[in-house]
């Protein structure tokens, strides 16, 4: 066994020619020691290890329990602004039988345009206008759900604020985290936002109807996604053409109408 990295290649003069910079993480304790002089007399050191987002995490855990008790799957839908979250939900809504039980809570900094679009498509849609907050938090979702009968729903989608950075850290109590990547954003987008894509259960490659026009390299996108999100499923969809929507609906437990 290689004592440097623990891999099973036999030790030999040739062994270390391959790309092997032994990126073992530095022991965090050592880094810490270098920074901390001995405390002065009368001072106390409290080891805490408390999550900064403890309050959000607790609220999210409460939401997760409520959703579970109601047997309701909940999706946290994330992406850059303009990747097609709302359009995708509209496309699913148009293909659903009436009263199919899909509801949406949608977050934006300003306007209720998205909620209106979704309502016009026949969905129950509740807008959260965050003001300056660049992400949704569990408390906002909890408030938005007041007055909604969860037991009557088949699927709740939380359409997050368009942002590939901040929303990643905030648990909303979801059972499935879905991140969108549109073909117009470039195949290497996932490499630029590893924390967000790495947190996804399901990645949707959207706007596939534009793939040819943008010269989108599907295989390359899939390879990059595998490197930052190896456990994520990947589906390809087009809200405009309808491609992939049946597979997506099946994955989400939604029934679509068989007739167009």
């Amino acid at each position: 066994m290689c004592v440097d990295c623990g891999c099973s290649l036999p030790a030999s003069p040739d062994h270390h020619h391959h790309d092997h910079d032994h990126r073992h993480d530095p022991d965090p304790e050592h880094a810490h020691e270098a920074l901390t002089p001995a405390p002065p007399a009368g001072a106390r050191l409290l080891q805490l290890g408390q999550a900064l987002l403890a309050r959000n995490d607790a609220l999210a855990a409460g939401l997760r329990q409520r959703f579970g008790a109601a047997g309701l799957p909940v999706v946290n839908l994330l992406s850059s602004p303009g990747s097609g979250k709302t359009a995708l939900l509209e496309a699913l809504a148009r293909r659903q039988p009436a009263a199919a039980g899909l509801a949406v809570v949608v977050g934006d900094l300003a306007t209720d345009n998205d909620a209106r679009r979704l309502q016009q498509a026949g969905l129950t849609a509740i807008q959260i206008t965050t003001g300056q907050a660049c992400h949704l938090e569990a408390a906002m979702v909890e408030r938005a759900l007041e007055g909604l009968d969860l037991a009557a729903l088949r699927l709740l989608v939380i359409e997050n604020v368009g942002n590939l950075v901040c929303p990643a850290a905030y648990d909303l109590g979801e059972s499935l985290r879905v991140v969108l990547l549109s073909v117009t954003e470039g195949e290497d987008k996932p490499l630029k936002y590893p924390a967000m894509f790495g947190s996804a259960d399901l990645v949707l490659i959207t706007k596939t109807d534009l793939a040819v026009a943008t010269g989108f390299d599907r295989a390359l996108a899939h390879r990059h996604l595998a490197r930052v999100a190896p456990a994520a499923e990947v589906l390809e969809v087009s809200a405009r053409s309808g491609a992939g929507l049946e597979a997506l609906a099946a994955r989400l437990g939604l029934e679509l109408r068989t007739a167009a």
Binding site: C7, D25, P28, P39, A43, C134, A195
Partner: protein, 113 residues
Amino acid sequence: MHELSLMEAVREQVLEQARLHAARRIDVITLRIGSLAGVEPEALRFAFEVVMAGSIAADARLQIERVPAVAFCDCCQGEFALDDGLWECPCCGGLSRQLRRGRELQLASLQLT
């Protein structure tokens, strides 16, 4: 960005601990931030000044312990550091699905008087 609201959470937790321990001054605040937490440590420093002003933590030293993301490779039976958030084992190139460290966003410790 929301480093300000994160620092407000730090302030709340720090002042609560100060109250519990009847402290009159906070000397050192240590945060533990994983590289996949989605938070920029240096942006936290700016927020720190703004948020702690006027409190018993106003003169505290802020330390940030960065935790590099580390995954476990089943094939090699060893841990490796994720380079730029890539889950590829540097030894065998295999893709790991087991993150061991790197999503931390914690108030690690407090030194108070």
